[in-house]
Symmetry: C2
Subunit: 199 residues, 2 copies
């Protein structure tokens, strides 16, 4: 059995959202139609506006509808520090958690030659121009601790080295408050190998 | 920290969907913008079309953009049987699970005087007209086994009685394949009190 064509189409379309299977799509569709028509109209407009108008910041590649994002155009940030992250959510997480006052460069992915994601797709030509410009004093690598994230960081570290820019990497290890027995073995072996003098 | 206005508005609007909190709204927004712009456009259109055009079937009150839904206008259904359910998803569940060939009447809620949901809001005037029409031979009550669902069924049974229409109620009890120890106590006590001769 099918619902009416417009309801079927709504349920089907909701499935493009991550984590939404057939049952939750159905629940969402009926919720919108039974209780949230105004919210639904607002949502439709917000999706349309964002999808049509949001592009990437010319300087850091973060998602924004402005030519240059709020962080890059701020005069309160230290332009000598450039933190490299994989996605816009990472910028948000770092801004929430740290007192970092430098700028970001958002790769929007990580190097993955098998999937056809090379240096250009990550804007590394733009990054290189920036490093050549001489303003950046330190590149802080904050890509994910995965094989592809590490390869991406390695590639960027080489670029920075060519331009004589200092490179640092955020620390990885046992999470604060984490109990050893619940930490995955990769993290644990990395933390063990990276042990420091205790003082 | 905020994202750009259009991204903030998208994240906020996604929260009108049931079960979507701040983190999943954020994940959905970035997913749409980074990987699903076409899906997002289709979703926006599907929401707008459904919210603007879907109303209720004139006969059974189910959600549909047609004046009369596919089930009510079918000539293959037994018009003497009328199953009363609370919502459109119940129609779907019964169609999937049973071989029922009669029609439905969808309350779109249940009696709840405290929330201002009275008989008119559930279309019970429409139901009464239908019972008075003489075509319906049996009303099958399939409201939820909750206090409000039971009260609603009780009210409808009275209506049916006044019009001399036979009324049945779908069985409630221990689910098939359910182990007793995992069944909630309300269901268990109901099942125990409703025990039948074994033959
Ligand atoms: Zn920027
Ligand atoms: Zn109908």
């Amino acid at each position: 059995m099918r619902y009416s064509p417009l309801i079927d189409q709504l349920i089907e379309s909701l499935r493009c959202l991550p984590g939404v299977g057939p049952r939750s799509a159905q629940r969402m569709a009926f919720h919108l139609l039974q209780r949230e028509r105004d919210g639904g109209r607002r949502l439709a407009g917000a999706i349309r506006d964002a999808v049509d108008q949001v592009g990437q910041c010319r300087q850091c590649r973060v998602l924004t509808e402005e030519p240059v994002c709020g962080l890059c155009s701020s005069d309160k940030r230290d332009r000598g520090l450039l933190c490299i992250v994989e996605g816009p959510a990472d910028v948000f997480a770092l801004e929430q958690a740290t007192g970092y006052r430098g700028l970001y460069f958002v790769l929007m992915g990580r190097l993955s030659p098998l999937d056809g994601v090379g240096p250009e797709a990550l804007g590394l030509d733009l990054l290189e121009e920036r490093l050549a410009g001489g303003e950046v004093q330190e590149v802080i690598l904050a890509t994910s601790p995965t094989v592809e994230g590490e390869a991406t960081s390695h590639y960027i570290a080489e670029l920075a080295h060519e331009h004589g820019v200092r490179t640092t990497r955020i620390a990885h290890g046992v999470p604060m408050g984490g109990e050893l027995e619940y930490v995955d073995s990769g993290t644990l072996s990395h933390a063990f190998a990276g042990r420091r003098d205790y003082d």
